[in-house]
Subunit: 349 residues, 2 copies
């Protein structure tokens, strides 16, 4: 489905008689509206209103980052990963995006009656390996079981805590006009990897998911003295949605160069055949960084020295203006890069 | 179903070809086996191995309590509460059971396609009210949507962080022979309240759920200088399961007096008709405290001064011995109070 088709499907604001649609979980405009209409007004507080990937709490001088995500990916196993890896890396990455060093994770499992124990063991083994890769222990958990047909195998919600080092202050409001925008690698692998194993759509030659823990590259940036203003991982809704969220929350305009955004041939080819735009396809191991343009070259060098950000490059700049994202195309023309209504692919994480 | 029947149904250890059963989520022996066979060996670390309701982490001198729980209660609304209240109070209570003062909560929602927005708004409003009652802000969240028929309306996983005050050290290993065991109020209300609105079983005259935030009573105990050794809330599996868990983890024996355990007539009557033992029925606002017998009288006075533990009383004692729980009955005889295989009622939280 193209993004133009999606806009036609989901144009209306949330009404009182409406019901939840798949697109409400998609990372696009409908999800943003759900958050703004239902969740933010109810829970309204400074940490939540900051609308960052993690809340940051002051506790006796230290700054604690705290975040959660639910994982409902379908299928549970896909090229390059599985729900367990996503559940660990996704939450580690949300902590990293607040500039925090991850300390510990929790996991709440919702299991469907009839789930083979062997499959649960595989998911748990993958989570353990992922937690080791990320260097973060899983310290507390919970298990619930729902009746057959009331779940879908395994859902996992993880939460994470981390510490933000002194002097680090990473959030949308810190983005300055003229900041450079760095991208940590090529985009679109995760979404295409999931699509390649979806029932009714299986195809060969797809890339593996990029899912990876990002606390390493972020820590390297911070330790090297780069003044990082804002970070965001490119999950649901992909690069374009992340840019739109930050443009809106920072009240700035953003321009990115199409030719500067790496997309590997396997992703570009699959997207062309399926009618998808890779800039909107989800990633699980890529992020953007906003930082002073004068430090961009050094930051790229630091990121390229880390295996999970070896393909780092500069893709654009922030500027004063009003919450718009513009893509400067291959042929010199420009077009707005809007927030989608929904998500091109449901249940990719 | 009586507990004897349950033992007959689920006697075997977990095999490789086995599948998840409802009883694996029930708080009884099968859940304990799942945790011991699958989760603990995989994630093995000191904080997890402590097997407390919350992990306690040292961060620069401060002690951070961290916990999570998933909520899948069915139906979503029941006498005295709903999934939103449970999701807030349950996690607040897990923090309180580590002796911690709750700081902040997260919430991850897994919504089923087709869920009426109006119902989600009601759940969210209830969570907000519960967070206000508990005095704890909800600071970060996530929303996922699953296809119709792959969920059950709303599942919520909350996580929580709190600070353990200096000098407080509350965990099973701290229980001493001869400790007094205090109970904060009458037992069995929550499970009976849920049962009373289950399809195929609806009945009148049931009590309201006891669901309540317990950080207040626990804080009062600690502030009054009582040397609290261990705390446990009486959720899945009820009072009997909590006593068994602590007897096992503390490697001590426990004796409780049947006549000392309050059960209101509405609960006793429903349990008699349904063939349930109220000592195994879930509560969502009751806890037990282990503390020096010499301080029991003062502790009861402190607890009775708080609305959520106004019915506090002493129910028994710990003793050296080997992980057994004995109930001294009304007529003077004694019987072992075993861990059930499963749970008398599925999906009560």
């Amino acid at each position: 489905m193209t993004r133009e088709e999606f806009k036609l499907i989901c144009p209306a604001p949330i009404g009182e008689r409406d019901t939840i649609q798949m697109a409400h979980g998609g990372g696009g405009r409908l999800m943003r509206r759900l958050i703004e209409d239902v969740f933010l007004p109810a829970f309204h507080n400074p940490a939540l209103d900051a609308r960052h990937d993690s809340a940051v709490l002051d506790i006796g001088g230290a700054r604690l980052a705290f975040t959660t995500d639910g994982y409902v990916v379908s299928p549970l196993f896909f090229p390059g990963g599985d729900i367990g890896r996503l559940a660990v890396f996704g939450t580690v990455n949300d902590l990293a995006m607040a500039g925090a060093r991850p300390l510990a994770l929790s996991a709440a499992f919702i299991l469907e009656e009839g789930l083979p124990l062997e499959l649960l063991r595989r998911v748990v083994a993958s989570m353990r390996a992922a937690a080791e890769d990320a260097g973060v222990p899983l310290v507390t958990g919970d298990t619930k079981v729902v009746d057959r047909g009331k779940g879908d195998g395994v859902f996992i919600s993880t939460a994470g805590v981390g510490l933000v080092p002194p002097g680090v202050d990473v959030r949308p409001a810190r983005v300055r006009p003229d900041d450079a925008i760095l991208l940590s690698g090529d985009v679109g692998r995760h979404g295409v990897a999931i699509l390649s194993v979806r029932d009714g759509l299986r195809f060969e030659g797809a890339p593996e998911s990029d899912c990876a823990p990002l606390a390493g590259p972020v820590g390297a940036l911070i330790e090297s003295g780069i003044e990082v203003h804002c970070l965001r991982d490119l999950t649901r809704g992909g690069l374009a949605s992340a840019l739109n969220e930050i443009a809106a929350d920072a009240a700035l305009s953003i321009t990115v160069e199409e030719t500067a955004i790496p997309v590997i041939p396997a992703v570009a080819g699959a997207c062309e055949i399926l009618g998808l735009d890779p800039l909107y396809v989800a990633n699980e191991g890529r992020f953007i960084a906003f930082l002073p343009a004068a430090q961009a070259e050094k930051a790229i060098e630091v990121l390229r020295g880390h295996p999970f950000s070896a393909g780092a490059c500069m893709i654009g700049r922030a500027a004063s203006g009003s919450a718009t994202v513009t893509l400067r195309g291959r042929l010199g023309g420009s077009r707005p890069l809007d927030l989608l209504s929904g998500e091109q692919l449901p249940r990719i994480c």
